[in-house]
Symmetry: C2
């Protein structure tokens, strides 16, 4: 291995050039003679010179980093969301030479305070914000500060313009309804959460809109709601819905984790899926393929979305476009074996 050269000064000395010239040569400035540029590039390569990030950041104001504040999560994460998301971000960033900073919110510190720290310490040129809440103080802060960001998810408040990418949950839920309706289902169940997340509303509204479009008064919709992380309450709510002869013949869950619980509880209640009950989820987590009989769901291709978010953010950082960048991704149906024709009416 060649001797390491750590600074521009050393490299310049070894080439008998000024620091300025070497810096410019490496940056590829036209004003430096081509011959010199090549000589410098060659020397830098074989000396293993790597510019110091801190110094570069300090003077240029650009860190080459994109920040992500880790969403605070419960003890058991049952999905690979985070892994796929950071993988996708990484893939999107690397082609532009950027890297990712992951900041964690300590117990007792709000996510916002961590975000503020990341932004104001100059660690990052832009940030990605996930899991948008109905009233999201992070977005308000970022907008006020004029700091580049892209959100994964939308606000309901549409006159707050900003850059976002979202999966079209409303469309997916409409699609799910239409498919089930065409299979003869008329009595539906929706399993949802009580937290004020925007995607909840968007998906529910999509479902409601699809129901409305049919204009069929015989369609019924029961709703079961439970807090996101309270498994006990969730199971209770689901059982209440599944109980009795007048239960839905098809259940749509806000996301797979809920759908999988429905499948478990249905099995426990002696119901056969999909003969007695159709179930459709959203997210396409890995377990949904393994849980019998295989959960029909929608794939949101997190990794691909994350890659696009990275691209969008880099564009925002570089070009500061006047109009916000927005992108709505249509999730694709993954038909497996948890849905089927409505059972014969019991009347």
């Amino acid at each position: 291995m060649p001797t390491r050269v750590t600074t521009l000064k050393e490299l310049a000395a070894s080439l008998d050039l000024s620091i300025t010239t070497v810096s410019r040569a490496l940056a590829g400035h036209e004003q430096i003679a081509l011959k010199t540029r090549e000589r410098v590039a060659q020397a830098a390569r074989q000396a293993g010179y790597v510019p110091n990030t801190a110094a570069r950041t300090l003077v240029s104001g650009r860190s080459g980093f994109v920040g992500l504040v880790l969403p605070v999560r419960g003890p058991n994460l049952v999905d690979s969301f985070l892994g796929e998301f950071v993988t996708g971000l990484g893939e999107g960033l690397v082609s532009h030479g950027a890297d990712l900073i992951l900041a964690t919110a300590a117990l007792g510190h709000s996510e916002l305070s961590v975000l503020r720290h990341v932004v104001e310490s100059g660690r990052a040129d832009g940030v990605v914000v996930t899991r948008i809440a109905e009233v999201d103080e992070r977005l308000a802060y970022l907008r006020e500060r004029g700091f580049p960001f892209v959100a994964h998810g939308r606000l309901l408040d549409s006159d707050f313009a900003y850059n976002w990418l979202d999966t079209d949950g409303a469309h997916a839920f409409g699609e799910a309804f239409d498919m089930l309706y065409d299979l003869g289902h008329r009595h539906f169940g929706l399993v949802t959460i009580s937290e004020p997340m925007t995607f909840r509303h968007l998906r529910q509204d999509g479902l409601a809109a699809a129901i409305g479009r049919r204009g069929d008064p015989s369609v019924r919709l029961d709703v079961a709601t439970a807090p996101r992380f309270d498994r006990g309450a969730r199971i209770q709510a689901i059982n209440r819905m599944l109980q009795g002869p007048d239960r839905p013949t098809a259940v749509i869950a806000l996301f797979d984790e809920l759908a999988l619980t429905v499948m478990e509880e249905a099995a426990r209640a002696g119901l056969t899926v999909p003969r007695d009950l159709s179930i459709i989820g959203f997210d396409n987590v890995v377990a949904s393929a393994y849980a019998p009989p295989g959960l029909t769901t929608f794939d949101a291709s997190i990794r691909q979305c994350a890659r696009e978010i990275a691209d969008m953010l880099l564009t925002v950082i570089a070009e500061r476009p006047a109009a916000p960048l927005t992108r709505l991704i249509r999730p694709t149906l993954v038909p497996r074996a948890s849905h089927g024709p409505a059972p014969q009416t019991r009347s």
Copy 2:
């Protein structure tokens, strides 16, 4: 929101103090009058002052970052390893005020080159290295450079001393064998991969050692090997092993992903688990709980391990201990329904 003060100079001016004094006051130096320290702290807080990371890094040589080079992964990640790992790292780092840098290797760039870049650009004070290969150039590089790191996994070559944390796969595989042996199994199958990863050897050796300890010549072991990411070859190898009347009655898989494939293929071949075939995995991925009848496996508690790795690394960075830090974590058996007594002999 109060007006933002961005630099120490501004803060100093507003307090009518020198930059030096303010810097020292914020750092809590004893030599600054207590009254002044309090006054400065108060002003900094309400002005929302956040020190610039780049400037601090440049002069102090410490970035407050820990680096992780994202392992290059196939298109379909079926586990939540990465998510749990970065979550754990984040949790471990945040209590010491450190953050995580995720660097991705671009197509065509080796993981080593990315690592070198992270190290030599001064972005990070230390790095975490995962998925140790039998001959791992990353470890050789880091050692030669004397750069702080902790590896998640061991080398086989024991006279290469360094800091590591590993899950005791050898012990787990011994435990699995003992349990199955006591259930009457004598004919075993091992499903493994062909890549030169150290954990493969450690687990296989643990199994072999446990077999040796029994000293029972009637014990047989078949081995099926396939490349890590070649699903077709894997299925072929597994079917070859499961085929014919003289097949193993118990299969131990190197990790859950393989075990889940064994379960699928067993079902396809008309075998009932665990009546006809016992299966044990390793990792406790989420899907293993959902795949019928429930995979017996070992939980390596990735998140907890990652947290400890973070702690170790911060210790290494701060104290540069002479002797390497090492830590062997014993995975816990998660007994589910994929193992049982050996079937009656077919002879």
